[in-house]
């Protein structure tokens, strides 16, 4: 990857990190209700994978999906407005943090039932094949999702139908509060299961945006060529707990320290330095990211709440909610 491309990936990750920080702060200020599942620390997977995709490809994500929405075309302003229950939110404030969706850019949703979106991704890939579009579908999911039935149903169906779908596992070591290794019989919860379904399973450093983009690009070419699905297990770590309710006190200090030193932004800065990009250039990218997110926060704060009448719209395709005559 050349310096220009890497700087672009870095700045995208930087915007996501700062947006996550803003979400965290706004929650503490009482401006974000419900909960948030922050992806700080996992930015390289979203940015690396998205950079390897075409504009018309589809992605499906989980309740921890801020980074995927942002990487896939949603703006910080739209996302923060959604979290803050504003009319200008990505989903008109009907979705919230766990359901960020921007269909127009191929971000086909964030789903809060663990693993539920995996069959949907298979179906979207099936649709791409039926329509002859060579579109690819990427399903992002956590390590915890690998123990639900739909994960295995999805891998099998995608394999037997040889569909263009990539299953990208963000293995952040914890299934909510419990170490995934404590509840899973194989060491690589996603990659180790893939061969049982006739699918290649690979492991990548999920904090290295260059490695992620390379791996997704390679598996994407394979899938588009009709060679079927693949599993990519990206090793990563979340900086925060599972959700706002979780201080993550169960994580060993040494483990946290080790992973914080393996931060995606730091890694990218290292790569940039190796490519001869000066600290000043990186600082300019930081400044642009800071300004974008700061403006987003102010714009979202200034936006109005949704019209209460919107509660009774959008159930049906006619825009309404009528269930009877």
């Amino acid at each position: 990857m050349d310096a220009g491309a890497l700087l672009d990936r870095y700045e995208r990750m930087d915007v996501i990190r700062r947006t996550e920080k803003a979400a965290h702060d706004l929650f503490l200020q009482g401006l974000v209700k419900g909960t948030t599942h922050l992806a700080a620390g996992q930015e390289a997977i979203a940015v690396g994978a998205s950079a390897a995709l075409r504009p018309d490809d589809y992605v499906f994500a989980t309740y921890r999906g801020h980074h995927h929405a942002l990487a896939r075309g949603a703006t910080p302003e739209e996302c923060l407005a959604e979290l803050m229950s504003r009319a200008t939110g990505l989903c008109g404030a009907k979705g919230g943090s766990m359901h960020l969706t921007k269909a127009a850019t191929g971000m086909l949703g964030s789903y809060a039932i663990v693993g539920s979106h995996l069959p949907m991704a298979v179906g979207a890939a099936w649709s791409a094949r039926l329509r002859g579009t060579e579109q690819l579908v990427v399903a992002f999911f956590g390590d915890g999702a690998t123990n639900i039935g739909a994960f295995h149903e999805s891998l099998n169906l995608a394999a037997v139908w040889r569909l263009p779908v990539l299953f990208v596992c963000e293995n952040n070591l914890y299934m909510e509060y419990t170490p995934i290794a404590d509840v899973t019989a194989v060491p690589r919860p996603a990659a180790d299961r893939a061969p049982a379904h006739g699918i290649p399973g690979e492991v990548v450093d999920g904090n290295d945006v260059v490695a992620v983009e390379e791996a997704v690009g390679r598996l994407a070419r394979r899938a588009r060529a009709g060679e079927g699905p693949a599993v990519l297990e990206a090793e990563t770590y979340r900086h925060f707990g599972h959700s706002r309710a979780d201080p993550a006190a169960y994580r060993p200090a040494e483990e946290v320290e080790r992973w914080l030193k393996h931060d995606p932004l730091d890694l990218a800065r290292g790569h940039l330095a190796e490519l001869g990009v000066g600290a000043e250039t990186v600082a300019e990218a930081d400044e642009r990211a800071r300004a974008v997110v700061e403006r987003a926060v102010e714009a979202a704060k200034a936006a109005p709440p949704p019209d209460p009448r919107e509660a009774l719209t959008d159930v049906w395709a006619d825009g309404g909610a009528a269930w009877r005559t």
Binding site: T101, G109, L118, G123
Partner: protein
């Protein structure tokens, strides 16, 4: 086309008509392709449309309905079969949490034009896990349209409407009706979802029924006519949208109401119908409303036991006599 068509053949005919007019209609399900479906409701589709439009799946109900959802979100009109309606429980996340909510929670960004077809109901001695009338399960979820035809012509007409619908539809085909026959509808026949049919006119009492309960209610009405009680029979056809207007209009004539439901009494659709009537048509009533419904037990195997717990002609007749005398 023949003078009559079975309900079973009407399913395949209804799907075929839509597949001919719209290339985005595709089918998936267990044993639906070469085998033609375990109830032979998809016979001939593979031969006419080929394996790129008629797909056999593994026994993976979550993948079937989840994949149908993903395909529907991206430009196709999938028709997914879940073999027995009892098995809807295996993919209940998709019916309860995913398909009906995605349009709403994305602020209208995503539309899910799919049909989930399934063989519903008892009366055939299939035992507790292959006999339930489960349309009430879907009724509890905002965002699903629910169709349950009673005649071959309605199967074809309502399948057309369901497949063309931009909203998700759960389509309950009744196992007990598959062998029944009726006139085939003309080309282009469409029965709009949410339009009930008055299938027998009468002035004395309104019987509201669905799917296999419609012919049962008609038989009961014949018995009652011999006693001088003229029952009007309303075939609801759909639970969502619910044609409450037709029920209320019938009550203006008859002033007495009995719902006939195969599902268990507890939480049955009849409760919704009578609550609407109590709310908006109380003044029309000259007698209490009654619900003939299934008992709140799992469906037993033996015929003599099954008949004890699902509605029968005798049970309906008995209930109507009591109300007529009120």
């Amino acid at each position: 086309m023949a003078d009559v068509i079975t309900y079973r053949d009407a399913v395949a005919e209804g799907i075929a008509r839509e597949m001919r007019r719209d290339a985005s209609v595709v089918c998936l399900g267990e044993d639906i392709a070469a085998a033609g479906g375990v109830f032979k409701t998809t016979t001939g589709l593979l031969k006419e449309f080929g394996p790129e439009r008629v797909w056999d799946t593994p026994i993976s109900e979550q993948a079937i309905v989840g994949a149908a959802m993903g395909a529907a979100m991206t430009g196709m009109r999938p028709v997914a079969e879940i073999m027995f309606s009892d098995f809807l429980a295996c993919c209940w996340d998709y019916l309860a949490n995913e398909i009906p909510k995605v349009r709403y929670m994305t602020g209208g960004q995503v539309t899910v034009p799919l049909v989930v077809r399934t063989a519903n109901g008892g009366g055939l001695g299939f035992g507790a896990q292959h006999s339930q009338a489960t349309e009430n399960w879907a009724l509890t979820v905002p965002g699903l349209k629910i169709a349950a035809p009673a005649t071959p012509a309605d199967v074809i007409g309502m399948l057309a409407a369901a497949i063309r619908s931009d909203d998700p539809v759960v389509f309950f085909e009744h196992k007990g009706l598959f062998a029944t026959k009726g006139p085939p509808p003309p080309p282009g026949h469409v029965v709009e979802l949410g339009r009930a049919a008055v299938v027998r006119e009468g002035d004395d009492i309104t019987l509201v029924a669905l799917a296999s309960m419609v012919p049962l209610a008609l038989k009961a009405a014949d018995v009652l006519a011999g006693e001088g009680i003229e029952a009007e029979v309303v075939d609801l056809r759909c639970l969502v949208p619910l044609d409450a207007a037709t029920v209320l209009a019938s009550l203006r004539k008859t002033s007495r109401l009995v719902t006939v439901e195969e599902n268990p009494y507890q939480g049955g659709w009849g409760a919704t119908v009578v609550s609407v009537v109590a709310d908006e048509g109380f003044g029309l009533l000259d007698a209490p409303v009654r619900r003939v419904a299934g008992e709140c037990v799992p469906l037993p195997f033996a015929d003599t036991l099954e008949q004890q717990v699902i509605p029968t002609v005798d049970k309906v007749v008995t209930e109507v006599r009591r109300l007529a005398a009120y």
